[in-house]
């Protein structure tokens, strides 16, 4: 009976993953068709404001001014940058976004534990990331005290673990 349940669960997971893949393809294709879409590599090109809200652009300009040259290069290339916590010396990766965008890195530089804290109120992504950077670099403990912790869940890793276990 347990084997039957496991088989059913496996089948449902396979269907779920296949449906997610299909939906992701549809979204990706529709984004590619949008004429005003900004390529990630052109984010900091002077004309990058085209298609972006003015507020979003101002936030990114401010972030750019406050990032170190290394952080700026990293963000421009990979849409994330890394900071060092002032108390623990741990490394954190801040990805472009406004929530659930901070990962504590392990010794090998792999993201493991997620931390979620944001400035109160509605702020654009650039502002949120800048506040997160300053908080971790100047008051890591204070920032993590208010933060919510989450764990990195990759659907691919889950599926691999599931099949290995099965």
């Amino acid at each position: 009976m347990f084997r039957q349940l496991l088989r059913n669960a496996k089948e449902r997971l396979r269907l779920f993953l296949s449906e997610r893949r299909r939906r992701a393809r549809v979204i990706r294709d529709s984004l590619r068709r949008q004429p005003g879409r900004i390529e990630p590599s052109s984010r900091f090109v002077p004309s990058f404001r085209y298609g972006y809200g003015e507020s979003e652009a101002r936030g990114l300009e401010l972030l750019k001014e406050w990032l170190s040259p290394e952080q700026f290069a990293q963000y421009d290339a990979k849409s994330y940058f890394e900071v060092t916590g002032c108390h623990s010396g741990k490394r954190y990766r801040i990805s472009h976004g406004t929530s659930m965008n901070i990962y504590e890195l392990d010794g090998a530089g792999r993201p493991r534990v997620g931390w979620c804290f944001v400035p109160k109120g509605y702020l654009v992504a650039g502002d949120v990331m800048l506040a997160q950077k300053i908080a971790l670099e100047t008051d890591e403990r204070g920032a993590l005290t208010v933060a919510n912790k989450f764990f990195r869940v990759s659907i691919t890793e889950l599926a691999i673990d599931f099949y290995r276990g099965g």
Binding site: G59, W66, F117, Y122, L123, D127, A131, I134, A135, G142
Partner: protein, 73 residues
Amino acid sequence: MATQIVMDRTGDTRHNFDAKNADALLKAEERFRELTGAGFTAAVRTASGEAVVKRTFDPNAEETLFFPRLVGG
């Protein structure tokens, strides 16, 4: 010209003032107190580009950034 940058929903609002003008400096200090009193964090950059949090008004700061209180997301 010194600047106080306050993060808000428009991206940010900048208040420029002449740090040599006593009235302007007083106004800037008032703004600093109001914002930090409301939970904003004030940060300045050192010459090396490092961010430093300021608990009291620094009349010599060229640029002070204010961001709202942090909350769990």
